[in-house]
Structures are given as C-alpha cells and as structure tokens.
C-alpha cells in the first residue's frame, strides 16, 4: 500500500516537474513549481523528515514561489529575443544526453551505496541530553554543525545587501520594492487584517517548539515573513527605507547574537560555539529567537527587492 503511494507520489513529482519545464507561459510554470514544492514536502513527510517538509513547504514552495511570481509580473515582454536564444535541436539533443548521463550516473551511484548505511543518527542523539534539546536536527544545526548555520545566517545578510546594492545610485536610502495601494476593502484587505495575528502566533510557536519538535527559526521566520509580505502587499504596512538603522539591526541581530554567544564560549566553556553544561538550552533559545527575527526580516527584504521609492 505504502509502496503504491510512494510510486504515485514519485511519478506525480516528476510529472509536475516536467510540466513546469515544458509549459509555455511563465505564470503557469511558477504555479507548477509551487505545486512541485508542495508535493516534495509530502515526499519529505514520507521520508520521515518533518522539519525539512516544513522548510520545503514554507521556503522552497511558498517564499520562492512568491519571489518568482513577483518576477513574472515585472518581467513582461522580451519575447522575440527569447526565440532567438532558443538552442538548436542538435544542441538540445546533446544537452539531453549529457543530463541523462548525469541522472543515470546518480541513480547508479545511489543504488550502489554500501549496506549497512553509515549513519550519525546514534551519535547525534547520544549528546542531546547534554544540550537539553529534544530535536536532533536542532542539535545538528545549533551545536555539532553550528558553524554551518552561522555562515548560512551570514549568507542571508550578504544576499540582502547584494540585492540592495543592485539599485540605481539615486535610489539609495529609499524604500525597497514596488508600492502597493492601500486596500481599504475587499478580500485582500480582510485577509491581511485577519491572518497576521494568527500567523504571527503560529510562526513564533513553530520557532519556539523547534528545540524539541519539528520546527525552528527558519520555518517560523518564513511564516512571520509571509505575514509581513501579506500586510505589505495589502498596503497596510510600509516597509522601512534601506537607510533605516533599525531595519539593518533587525537583519544582523541573528548572526551577531550567534557570534556573541559563540565568543562567550571562549570564556565560559571550551571555545567558540561550545555551550557550558546546563546553560546550553537557554543559549540556544536566545540564538533561535534573534535568528527568527533576522530570518523573517531578510526574507521580506529579499522578496521586496532593491530600493525603488523615495522615502
């Protein structure tokens, strides 16, 4: 039964992916991509990775989908040139063969992985009591491979600043993104008033339970960002200008707190990013709280894009 389900799910994912590539319009392609992301989230549930399923649904399908939709709307035109740039049939055949070889090689390699599978599962779980957290993924992200997570948080800051720096000079200091008229009535206005209070509670809840259950800063932060984007699109919330220092501190707060706690480890524990016994959980929660804020801010700003409107 579950095998049949898996095969159907796998075929659906591949089918939607193929459709997304082949369909002519950009808009349906993006919708197809969001469906693809949601199906992948289901696959992740089937693989027993609920944390990843949440991240895939929120970030991979949701936030990326919004990003792509904005781009579709703003990129209307350029048709003739696209036809000119289409690769010739022989080129396409060559590309297809090359990609087929890569896919085949991967499949062969995956099927030939050694048995029993090497795994760090036991090792990762063994140290969890020391950290005071119950979710092994949080253990990996915040302790064992904390440096990965720190660098990743810094990558988000890079991305925000890089996106801002693409703006024309005269727009520096201005408000990011297009201007949306205030929706005083209608369905969007209703949604933007009703949903955020619920969404903010859900987002904080998901970030909070991450220590012991599926969830965490990235998933919770994405939900918070979605609420912000909703209020922004409905014209109910004005984004601060890029010159705003408060906005910038919100973006860097997460990584800065992360580094601060890390450096504290030199003094009160065995070095950078090591947590003293008994204090691990509060310190992890402190980092997660700051990171949730920064992740949410960074995602809103990445969706909004470079500064465009005078403050």
């Amino acid at each position: 039964m579950s095998l049949v389900l898996d095969v159907m799910l796998a075929l659906a994912v591949i089918g939607v992916a193929g459709w997304t590539l082949l369909v002519r319009g950009n808009f349906p392609a993006v919708i197809g991509f969001v469906a693809y992301g949601l199906l992948l989230a289901l696959v992740w549930v089937r693989l027993g990775a609920v944390d990843v399923a949440l991240t895939e649904a929120a970030l991979g399908a949701g936030a990326t989908g919004v990003l792509l939709l904005f781009a579709v709307v703003r990129l209307r035109g350029g048709k003739a040139e696209i036809d000119a740039a289409t690769p010739s049939p022989p080129q396409r055949v060559a590309a297809a063969i090359l990609c087929g070889v890569v896919g085949l090689g991967l499949a062969v390699a995956m099927l030939n992985l050694p048995d029993p599978a090497p795994s760090l599962a036991a090792e990762a779980t063994r140290h969890l009591p020391l950290l005071g957290v119950g979710n092994p993924i949080t253990g990996v992200l915040m302790a064992y491979r904390g440096l990965d997570t720190l660098l990743e948080a810094v990558v988000l800051v890079f991305a925000v600043l890089a996106i801002w720096s693409m703006a024309p000079d005269r727009r520096w200091g201005a408000i990011p993104g297009p201007l949306f008229p205030v929706q005083s009535s209608g369905p969007l206005s209703l949604l933007a008033r009703v949903l955020p209070p619920i969404g903010i509670v859900v987002g904080i809840h998901i970030a909070w339970v991450g220590a012991d259950a599926p969830g965490g800063k990235f998933q919770g932060g994405t939900i918070l960002a979605a609420m912000g984007i909703l209020a922004w699109v409905a014209g109910l919330w004005r984004l601060p200008p890029v010159a705003s220092r408060g906005l910038r501190w919100a973006v860097v707060a997460g990584p800065l707190v992360f580094i601060g706690v890390g450096l504290l480890g030199f003094v009160i524990a065995d070095g950078f990013l090591s947590y003293p016994p008994g204090f691990a959980k509060p310190l992890i929660l402190l980092i997660e709280a700051a990171m949730t804020l920064s992740v949410a801010a960074a995602i809103v700003l990445m969706v909004a894009g470079p500064p465009e409107r005078p403050a």
Partner: protein, 97 residues
C-alpha cells in the same frame, strides 16, 4: 530507493531545463527544480539506516536557505537587466557594445 531514483530524475530534468531554457526566469525556475532533486537525495541518504539520520536533514535545511538566497539574488539581477535593456536572456549581443 524509489525516491532516490526520483531525485536522480529530477536532477536530470532540472539540469536540462537550466541548460536549454532560453529565458532567464525559466532558467532560475529550473535551478530550483534541480535543487529540489538534490535535496531529495539527501533525504534518501538520511533514510537508508534503521533510524533517520538528522545530519543530512539538517544539511538540507541549510541548503534550502542558501538556494532561496541565490534565487532572490539571481532574480534581482534579471530584473535590473530587464529594466535597463529590456533583455530577458543573456544571449550574445549581435552588435558590439
């Protein structure tokens, strides 16, 4: 293992789209399809043992965030190029600049 083969197929599909699609937006879309396939392989590797291995799952979360940032950055570049020149591809210019 079904999903292992699925992941490999998605990688092949995404790679093909990334190489052959002329429009930049569609290339970026294909890159995200491709990313989904790669991450799926991590999930399959994590699931091979008796107990799910949290390490590859955590790597996927990191990877998803990085892929999102890359997508955002690429789209802004595409948008700015479009705003300045009206071009939606990076085909070679027929006329020298």
């Amino acid at each position: 293992m079904i999903f292992g083969v699925t992941g490999a197929a998605l990688v092949a599909l995404g790679l093909y789209g990334l190489v052959t699609q002329p429009a930049l937006l569609r290339k970026i879309l294909a890159f995200n399809l491709l990313g989904g396939g790669v991450f799926l392989l991590f999930g399959v590797v994590a699931r091979r043992g008796a107990v799910a291995d949290p390490v590859p799952q955590a790597l996927v979360i990191t990877g998803l965030v990085v892929a999102f940032a890359a997508t955002a950055l690429a789209l802004v570049l595409v948008l700015r190029l479009f705003q300045i020149t009206g071009a939606a591809t990076i085909a070679e210019d027929k006329t020298p600049p």
